[in-house]
């Protein structure tokens, strides 16, 4: 009688990559819900569009590459990419924005580099940056929180705006974005940047209703939602704690230094933490294992670097938010960081590689 031959270890802790991806997708729920509550259906519609596009693209490329489709199509990685793109886009951006962005992310950034595990750049962020660079107009039509919008942005209105550019009643996107006072509203980060450029102090700027009572109306709760999801992932050991912690710490330190030196023209530390895509980037994008550093020391370095870059782009750069750019730059440097942060092997002296 011959027995079944297998290689050791014969046991496994039963974790699977698709499960991990699914867990990350679930962890975005608090943030997505906050987004829906404050900004309406726009992002949910974009998430749906992006996911559908992602599945179609993934299916097409996997068939062309003769890969096991059932195995890889639903491993959750493409859906997660689509989800992140959907979250990042301006809520009222036209439908083709999310379609093109997702196609670029899946086909070019992910699959052309070899698929899951081989892409040097985070597909969602690369797709987002491509859109931002190629379609600056559509990518900056940020919708103010629902409470500040005169038009009733229900599901039907949002859908028609995304598909046709006009609400059911016939209001254009620009009209929707215009406040009761007749000003076109932007994001808090954008507003602050514009105002600082105009010579206004931060204190004067934040009187703008989009800043709300705390730091940034709506945005602060969206960020808080992603923070909760991120902490859940850390508790589940799905992501490494080193990256988000060092990233947030780095951003905090940078903004604290500048705020204490020049409070008039610098936003507060908490404004940096709870506006823009800070928490999403910290817990959901920077922690992407494929494009990040693998060693713990490397993760800390990547986090610190990303925090610094985000701060620099937000204050000195041409774009209001810099999370996407910072993350792409960190993706580029991750292999190098990995190279120099290899841990000391047991029984080897330090520096004895």
């Amino acid at each position: 009688m011959a027995f079944w031959i297998a290689s050791s270890p014969h046991n496994h802790n039963h974790t699977k990559t698709p499960n991990l991806m699914r867990l990350v997708i679930y962890a975005t729920l608090p943030g997505v819900l906050a987004q829906w509550y404050f900004f309406g259906w726009g992002n949910l519609i974009h998430i749906g569009l992006a996911m559908a596009t992602a599945l179609v693209c993934e299916f097409t490329v996997l068939s062309l590459r003769k890969k096991p489709i059932s195995h890889e199509l639903f491993d959750g990685s493409a859906l997660l990419t689509a989800l992140l793109i959907g979250i990042c886009l301006p809520a009222l951006a036209p439908w083709w924005i999310s379609v093109i962005g997702t196609m670029f992310a899946i086909v070019i950034v992910k699959q052309l580099y070899g698929g899951l595990g081989h892409n040097p750049f985070n597909p969602a962020m690369a797709g987002y940056v491509m859109l931002l660079v190629s379609f600056p107009l559509q990518m900056t039509i940020w919708q103010p929180p629902l409470s500040l919008v005169a038009v009733d942005l229900n599901f039907a209105n949002t859908l028609t705006t995304i598909l046709t550019g006009f609400t059911v009643e016939g209001y254009s996107v620009e009209q929707v974005r215009t406040s009761i006072d007749g000003f076109t509203m932007a994001t808090p980060l954008d507003t602050l940047k514009t105002n600082t450029g105009l010579g206004l102090t931060v204190f004067e700027s934040i009187k703008n209703p989009i800043f709300g009572d705390n730091f940034a109306l709506g945005w602060e709760w969206v960020n808080a939602g992603f923070l909760v999801g991120g902490l859940f992932l850390i508790a589940k050991k799905a992501i490494a704690w080193q990256t988000p912690l060092s990233f947030l710490l780095s951003l905090f330190i940078c903004s604290f230094i500048s705020y204490s030196l020049n409070p008039d023209s610098s936003a507060s530390t908490m404004f940096h933490w709870f506006s823009g895509a800070t928490m999403l980037g910290a817990f959901f994008i920077l922690t992407d294992p494929v494009t990040g550093a693998t060693s713990n020391k490397g993760r800390i370095i990547v986090g610190l670097l990303a925090g610094l870059l985000v701060y620099l782009i937000r204050t000195a750069g041409g774009y209001p938010d810099g999370v996407a750019f910072a993350i792409l730059l960190c993706n580029m440097s991750a292999p190098l960081i990995d190279q120099y942060t290899r841990p000391r092997t047991y029984g080897h002296l330090k520096g004895d590689k």
């Binding site: 009688m1 011959a2 027995f3 079944w4 031959i5 297998a6 290689s7 050791s8 270890p9 014969h10 046991n11 496994h12 802790n13 974790t15 699977k16 990559t17 499960n19 991990l20 195995h71 890889e72 491993d75 990685s77 698929g115 899951l116 595990g117 081989h118 490494a240 294992p289 494929v290 990040g292 693998t294 060693s295 990995d338 290899r342 841990p343 000391r344 092997t345 047991y346 029984g347 080897h348 590689k353």
Partner: protein
């Protein structure tokens, strides 16, 4: 430092090692049942080698009846550990059989048919260890065939041999692998025997401290050993936290002493020796009870068994016997894995006849529910997403994900840089990998490849040294051979010089032919001899043959001179002489330069050539001379014209001229022929001496090539007869060259013949027409 370590230990503080995992222990399956004594199996299959090292020399043959404990192999080397008959019986076969090896390898095994009487050989019990010297104890351990029973199987007698400055003797009872409880049960049931064994090692090694490490999931074993060692100050029972792989040698040393074993070194270099508890038990059995290592505790477990338990298994017991004893449920399942060792580091065995050996501590038969990944036919591996969980759990702090990429790419240099050799195969990385990559499997393949490459490199290096040595030797031999040939040639020359004047022995065909010619000439041209010595004195002729030919030529010249009495030609007669001399000397030297004229072929060729020459000369005599005499002046001018025309013709003409001269000499021929001879000879001398003329040299070249070719073939044949092996290996081209040379020689000869004929006919025609 040692003191502070012990202080820490007595306070119950330990160091930690990087990584580690907590897989389901599943020890409850067997830990509560006592070790079962089994009935004797019908047949035992005892592999000759059950340890790291080499197999011993067989002491028994098929049909021998052996007693329990009788040695079956003999140790002649420290790395050889003998094996013993686990029970009495008859040896029915000694043949290859599948052994406990991950690859299902076969090895020489002794098949012992058990007689059921279990008769012991005579034993000498030792009641007082103090009476034994250390050397005697080590000898007893070596004779008992004890090899490390924790898994590696390193010969124990080497490890317990006295080493200076041992700080710690660590007794490994951690047993961190899930499922296995063999050491646990042994510690519970045989704590005193284990402690006695530890005392024996203590006597041998005299370490500063003895630490018994047990994971905290074995409370009963801890209690038993604490009681057994209560009175001994030197021994400390260390209760270490449960974590896999705590029982790894390097990891346990780090936990207990906080020091790392330097990569590539052994713990002994750090003053630490580690022994497994089962080894300690075996040492006690061997030294006190004269019982060799013939049985061990084996955990037979897994949810596919109805009665998982620990058993005392005789070495050589086939695992199907053990499985029967533990009521296996559904072994018919063709995918059923049977694992020897634990779930983390064990290997699945390929046959039910695989025997228990000294290092087998567990037979695991899992059900599909408890260990689905062991049943999977195809790996569920997906792409690595660099999550880094593997490096988080690696106890050696390696980067498994990077190792995996390099292993797949067969980048051995990078693998070395990433310290693949420090991987202990614990399997923690593969256990946690969410992409289900069989990481350890990749590392094993890579390690095997690197090992193979190293062996190949070593082999290539050896081959290179061998080749160079051989080249040197061949070179020397060649020089020696040439030296020998030179000597032989000289000897032959001397012999020939002696033989020629006698003209009777005719040792060589050449000599004989020359002798004949000489005799002829001598008889016909006796008149001219007085002049010859004078000429001889001026010519530097070292050869009898050339002397002869020179004499002939001179004689001819003289005769012609006299007969002709033409003044304008008299100047050139000297030239003719010289040229002929040079010619003959040259041909002679080309032959004699080669140290191998004595070859048969050469002889034959020479003889044939001579014969041809003769024949041709006769023909020439018939055809040429008459006509030539008729056309004296015209002939002369024609010949003068052709002087610089053609080497071919010149060569041919030389031959003809020689032949003619013979005839002319015979008949005291006319001035025309002398003239012609002179011209031709001039030409020959020009080609022979200078070879500068850019005209076609082919016939002369080929004519010259012939003797060389002959030499080549002859060389090859010589070496053939001398040393066939050598020449066969030496150069395959030689035989080919040999053949070619022969063919070329033949062709050249044929051509020369043809050319000669043609030339003569042409010349005749020319002369006729003129």
């Amino acid at each position: 430092m040692v003191e502070s370590v012990v202080e820490r230990i007595t306070r119950g503080h330990f160091w930690d090692f990087h990584g580690g995992i907590h897989p389901p222990e599943q020890k409850f399956l067997t830990s509560s049942k006592p070790i079962k004594q089994l009935s004797l199996p019908k047949q035992l299959i005892i592999p000759l080698q059950q340890h790291i090292g080499r197999e011993g020399d067989l002491l028994v043959t098929i049909g021998d009846r052996v007693l329990k404990g009788q040695a079956l192999t003999l140790s002649t080397n420290p790395m050889v550990v003998p094996i013993h008959a686990p029970t009495s019986g008859t040896i029915s076969a000694i043949k290859m059989s599948v052994i406990a090896h991950p690859s299902g390898l076969s090895q020489l095994c002794i098949f012992l048919d058990v007689d059921g009487e279990d008769t012991w050989r005579k034993r000498e019990l030792c009641h007082d260890i103090e009476q034994l010297t250390n050397h005697q104890i080590i000898e007893k351990i070596a004779d008992a065939g004890i090899a490390g029973m924790g898994g590696a199987g390193f010969p124990t007698h080497i490890k317990v041999n006295r080493q200076p400055d041992i700080n710690f003797l660590i007794i490994n009872g951690a047993e961190c692998e899930p499922y296995i409880t063999a050491d646990d049960l042994l510690m519970m049931e045989q704590s005193n025997a284990i402690v006695d064994g530890i005392k024996i090692i203590d006597k041998l090694l005299t370490p500063a401290f003895i630490l018994i490490a047990i994971e905290d999931n074995k409370p009963k074993a801890i209690k038993a050993l604490q009681q057994a060692t209560a009175s001994i100050e030197k021994i400390k029972v260390c209760v270490v936290p449960t974590k896999y792989p705590t029982g790894g040698e390097k990891q346990l040393i780090q936990i207990l002493t906080g020091t790392e074993v330097t990569s590539g070194q052994l713990p002994i270099h750090a003053g630490i020796v580690m022994q497994n508890v089962a080894t300690c038990f075996a040492i006690n059995e061997a030294v006190r009870h004269d019982t060799p290592l013939i049985r061990r505790v084996v955990t037979v477990t897994g949810q596919a068994l109805n009665k998982p338990q620990n058993v005392w298994a005789l070495l050589g017991t086939p695992i199907n016997f053990l499985l029967e004893q533990c009521s296996v449920q559904n072994i018919e399942n063709e995918n059923q894995p049977v694992i020897m060792g634990g779930p983390m580091m064990g290997f699945s065995v390929s046959s039910e006849l695989v025997p228990i050996v000294k290092t087998s501590n567990c037979i695991l038969v899992p059900s599909k529910v408890e260990m689905p990944s062991a049943f999977e036919k195809e790996s569920k591996e997906v792409e690595c997403i660099r999550c880094g969980q593997c490096s988080d759990v690696c106890p050696s702090q390696l980067l498994p994900q990077e190792l995996q990429w390099s292993a797949k790419a067969k980048d051995h240099a990078q693998l070395k840089k990433l310290n693949l050799s420090d991987c202990i195969d614990c399997g923690a990385c593969a256990y946690v990998c969410p992409s289900q990559i069989p990481l350890v499997h990749y590392y094993r393949i890579a390690k095997a490849e690197i090992r193979e490459q190293q062996q190949l490199d070593l082999k290539a290096e050896k081959a290179k040294i061998r080749f160079e040595a051989r080249k040197l030797r061949l070179e020397k031999e060649k020089i020696a051979r040439q030296e020998k040939h030179k000597k032989a040639a000289a000897a032959r020359k001397a012999a020939m010089n002696k033989a020629t004047p006698e003209a009777t022995g005719a040792k060589s065909a050449v000599a004989a032919a020359l002798a004949r010619v000489k005799a002829k000439k001598a008889s016909k041209a006796q008149v001219d001899t007085p002049d010859a010595p004078a000429d001889l004195s001026t010519e530097v002729v070292d050869d009898q043959k050339s002397q002869v030919s020179a004499a002939i030529a001179r004689a001819k010249a003289k005769k012609q001179l006299k007969a002709e009495a033409a003044t304008k030609l008299s100047n050139s007669s000297d030239d003719t002489n010289k040229a002929v001399d040079v010619d003959t000397v040259e041909t002679k030297t080309t032959v004699t330069q080669q140290p191998t004229v004595d070859d048969k072929k050469a002889k034959i060729a020479a003889a044939v050539a001579k014969a041809k020459a003769k024949k041709l000369s006769k023909n020439a005599e018939v055809t040429d001379t008459d006509k030539v005499t008729d056309n004296t002046l015209a002939d002369k001018t024609v010949a003068e014209k052709t002087v610089n025309i053609d080497d071919k013709k010149a060569k041919v003409a030389a031959a003809i001229a020689k032949a003619k001269s013979k005839a002319l000499a015979k008949a005291n021929a006319k001035a025309e022929s002398l003239n012609e001879e002179k011209i031709a000879a001039n030409n020959v001398s020009a080609t022979v001496t200078s070879n500068v003329t850019p005209t076609d040299h082919s016939p002369s070249n080929s004519a010259q090539a012939i003797p060389e070719d002959i030499v080549v073939t002859e060389n090859a044949e010589n070496s053939d007869s001398k040393n066939q092996n050598e020449s066969l290996a030496e150069s395959t081209p030689t035989p080919a060259m040999d053949k070619k040379a022969k063919i070329a020689a033949a062709i050249a000869k044929a051509k020369a013949k043809k050319k000669l004929k043609e030339a003569s006919s042409v010349e005749n025609n020319d002369q006729d027409s003129v």
